[in-house]
Amino acid sequence: MRSNATRLALVGAATVTAVGVGRAVTRRRRRHQPQREDGWYVVRRAVTVDRPVAAVISFWTERERLDRALAEWATLEQIDGNRWRCVSRDPDTGATEWRAEITVTGPGRLRWQVTGGPEQQGTVELVPAPQGRGTEIRAELRYRSGPLRRALGLAAGDEPDLRLRDTLRRVKSLIECGQLIDTRRDPSGRSPAQERRTDEIRQRLTTGGRA
């Protein structure tokens, strides 16, 4: 039979452990949360492209190349000198996902805002990378969401932060090697059902990757 003192010590130790673990988990979770400002989530993501700033800018100003790059997932049309309208499409269904207005705010700087679709806006800035390593494309994205929606989005692979990372990786690949590698639909000994399941896993291994 244990004494009351022993019981008390055990309960005390268990409480201290639980509180400690709980605090550690909370702190870790907080570290993974993006910054919040006036009700907006703010995430900053960047990618390094091995080309000078001028080459990165010219990629976006050469119309034919840009159209080829955007191909099936967006169209871009100029409104006036500094403003563009972008319409994003779902590559699988062709349905319009959102419309955005893009404003060039200076050399290597632009601002964009979604006009028809989810509440989002952001900026993109091109900065020369050190050691002649090319250009850092730095993007800031502001979007409305909540902790639960963000958690569900991250779990389902459908979240603005993940989209931003994917987009930056895509842009880098298009500029550096002119294409996006895709190994879906390569030969395999899978049945159609196994292939669908494998495509889901491919999607999970792709979404949010940083290159």
């Binding site: 390094t48 590698i181 030969p187 395999s188 196994q194 291994l205 990757g209």
Partner: protein, 390 residues
């Protein structure tokens, strides 16, 4: 077409699969003439490298003939006989432009797993699981090669398929292992693993100036082949204390450079090995680092340890203290195929390296599963099984 598919841990089967098509401007389609098994395939087959899916086509070391080219291909034409590097490289990123092809930024379209495990994703590899991009492998009649201009090289006339096939992986891997050693002439180099990569590393070390090469393995027939073909000295760890032997052979100094051409499934004798194997089986460690431990302990003070055997994740009892206090240089990596292949093809054509003897077991693709069994169990003096789809 027929292809050798992974059907679950330890299970392989030849299946009928659709033929690959050109999907991007830089793609080429190669009709495979020879496709070798590789020690690193065993890690995939045995489930030690994750993200394999049922139906994946294996094979990453191959040679063949170009049968179709994408509109963006400049260097190659239909009918060219080519050997293709195992790592996929885009040719346009900083790593490719500085000839560090196996670190290519753009060739793994599924980088999330590698990023979680390693911080960043290196290049994709043909036929090497979904963690390395999910590319279909070369144990098939046809294979799609992305960035054909970057990864495929014309084969010199007169070099047979069963020799040039090793320019795809074993030769560049071996060469890079020796290159890591920074040889300037006269060194003693020890090589763990007398398989295809180890023997190519030994030959490369000789060509780069090593005075003596000592190979460590447990299979007397492999050591005998190495001694006979390359004139190396040998140590059989099954009946010899490797560290003592290497110390005596170098009059107390230890080898100037030690090459690990074995990797995560290395063998040993004794209770320590049983412990490592049990831990790996229970997934308490992903890799068995026996060779690299020995290499670090054996290397001379200030020497180099060069690791080209494949490791996937975490190891136990890594002697970092020995490496630190002996001021060792540790170099490692997947090989930069595209950097070395042109030079290796020249040496092949000149007869300086002749890897043809590694192809001890040429077999038709239909017998692929049996071919891997012979290779894994080292039956009948097998160094490499080479599959021929046609």
């Amino acid at each position: 077409m027929k292809a050798l598919c992974w059907e679950g841990v330890g299970k392989l089967k030849v299946r009928d699969v659709p033929e690959p098509r050109v999907r991007a401007a830089g793609d080429i389609i190669v009709r495979v003439r020879a496709s070798s098994v590789c020690g690193s395939d065993l890690h995939l087959i045995n489930g030690f490298i994750p993200a394999m899916r049922e139906g994946d086509i294996l094979g990453h070391e191959f040679t063949g003939e170009v049968v179709e080219v994408g509109p963006g291909v400049r260097r190659l034409a239909v009918g060219d006989r080519v050997v293709v590097g195992s790592v996929v490289a885009c040719g346009g990123c900083w790593y490719c432009r500085t000839e560090q092809y196996s670190l290519c930024d753009n060739s793994n379209p599924q980088p999330v797993f590698a990023e979680k495990l390693w911080g960043h994703s290196p290049a994709g590899i043909v036929g090497y699981s979904h963690a390395a991009g999910g590319y279909s492998g070369s144990h098939a009649e046809y294979v799609r090669v992305p960035f054909g201009d970057v990864g495929a090289f014309k084969v010199p006339d007169g070099v047979p398929d069963d020799a040039v096939v090793f320019a795809s992986d074993a030769m560049p891997t071996g060469w890079m292992a020796a290159d890591f050693c920074g040889l300037t002439g006269g060194e003693v180099v020890a090589v763990w693993g007398a398989g295809g990569v180890g023997q190519m590393a030994a030959r490369a070390a000789q060509l780069l100036g090593a005075e003596r090469v000592i190979m460590v393995d447990r299979l007397p027939e492999r050591l005998a082949v190495a001694a006979d073909r390359l004139g190396v000295e040998t140590v059989n760890y099954a009946d010899t204390d490797v560290l003592e032997a290497l110390r005596e052979m170098t009059a107390g100094r230890g080898p100037d450079a030690c090459i690990d051409a074995v990797g995560m499934e290395s063998h040993d004798v004794g209770p320590g090995y049983a412990y490592d194997k049990a831990k790996q089986t229970a997934r308490l460690q992903t890799d068995r680092p026996t060779c690299v431990r020995q290499a670090i302990m054996a290397a001379r003070k200030g020497g180099t340890v060069s690791i080209v055997g494949v490791y996937a994740g975490l190891v136990d009892k890594f002697p970092l203290g020995a490496a630190m206090n002996k001021a060792l240089v540790l170099r490692m990596g997947q090989m930069h195929a595209q950097r070395y292949i042109p030079m290796l093809l020249d040496r092949l054509a000149a007869g300086e390296i002749d890897p043809g003897y590694l192809a001890t077991h040429p077999l038709p693709l239909d017998q692929g599963a049996r071919g891997y069994e012979i290779f894994e169990k080292k039956e009948d003096g097998c160094l490499r099984t080479v599959l021929h789809p046609a």
